[in-house]
Symmetry: C2
Subunit: 280 residues, 2 copies
Amino acid sequence: MTYCVGMRLDAGLVFLSDSRTNAGVDQIGTFRKLNVFENPGDRMMVMMTAGNLSISQSIRQLVNDFTGSSGHSIRTAPNMYEAARIMGEAVRTVHEREAKALADFGIEFNVSIIFGGQVRGERCRLFQIYSAGNFIESHSENTYFQIGEAKYGKPIIDRVVTPATSLDEAAKCALISMDSTLRSNISVGLPLDLLVYENNSLAVTRFVTVDEKNQYFQMIRSTWGQQLKTIFEGIEAPQWDAMPSPAQPVRMPLPDTVTPGSASPAPLQSVAQQFASRQQ
Amino acid sequence: MTYCVGMRLDAGLVFLSDSRTNAGVDQIGTFRKLNVFENPGDRMMVMMTAGNLSISQSIRQLVNDFTGSSGHSIRTAPNMYEAARIMGEAVRTVHEREAKALADFGIEFNVSIIFGGQVRGERCRLFQIYSAGNFIESHSENTYFQIGEAKYGKPIIDRVVTPATSLDEAAKCALISMDSTLRSNISVGLPLDLLVYENNSLAVTRFVTVDEKNQYFQMIRSTWGQQLKTIFEGIEAPQWDAMPSPAQPVRMPLPDTVTPGSASPAPLQSVAQQFASRQQ
């Protein structure tokens, strides 16, 4: 599996991906899922993929010089919306090529893409593109997209990130979100690709590949876990008396055949007999 | 959907369930998913269910006085393992009755059960039972089971709970895990049923139904979120210089048709033409 998260902040964009792929537990590999389409001074775009690796690699290859029905490629599209449409068309082109052959082997055409960036003259934009080539765009109430194993790392983002969050803070949150995912799901793995893009720089602002030796990520892993335990311990234990609950649990009634307070043996009756008696 | 978690600690058992069910966004209801089979002094068992509500209600009804192939019911089973087998047989019996008719409407026979408790003379035990009636038991390295929307609330349990955790601390952790789930997934909802069972009491030790007005849960919701933000802010921002990364992102090469630093228009070519030229 995969975990990728992309965030669109007032200050720019943050992208983080893991690099584990697996096709069964004995076929685990490391593949980079974060790809940059950059023409410094003109545009900077990032595509992160989850799903079937052969499909996402085909799309990545195709879209690099793919001309959409508008006559543009993502390299020449006048804005990010047009680029997302071209990406969607590339997904559909790969679908036409591959889906039937995959279906013959019972393999679903399954890919999801986070695609974001900036074209000169326009603001930063962030999209999520589906297997069918359709897509949605982030907005200020929904400022991030996740693909792959998204759920483990969602709560911390929901609690912390808003459009006003700085790029550094957002990158920190993305790394904590990834840490939670790594701990709870073995199919997501290091190294990580972390890319930070500052508004209007029209080139990659910062990029790091985070592996086991990365001291900042090591610090996050240990500090976050420890401090979480500290605040957990600091929260008072349930005060049962302060939670008066007139409600009772759903107690299933004791069957007549069972003596309260002791287990009387049930009559010996086979399942078949029981069935027969129920059907009478 | 549903979120339920059951934990087996050295000190006893903790069960927590939400109460939301939905069949489409316009059919949302409140149903209790935590059910108690209790015969004080002899045994205390809890069953929590996720999946298709009609199936889980059928199983709950059937298993209350269902006699398994061993001649025992869960009310008379000599131990929890035998009771779990009987629960599995009840699942299979409902499957025989219902699965075909459901399949005609494209509905999967989908149910998962957390089942735990104590029978006099034996220790506490905790099981997860699948749609096929097969089951697994918790052990000290895997001290909890979750069903339903499990992922959002998994990281905090993984970080905090061990068999040595006290019942109060485990209940607190279960409530925090539920809070994270409630925030990130609209299909999980209040009120919650929380049941705590202390070893060898052979009756429900503590039970509360937690609704919006529950002050302890209100305190957890606000305190946890606030303190999480505080420790988040306390972790230093990424030190980019301290993360030297010789690695570069995967940059897709600029096609020859594009001038570095500016977007030269791509030749106007339709998708069909492009396809044709690719196939030559």
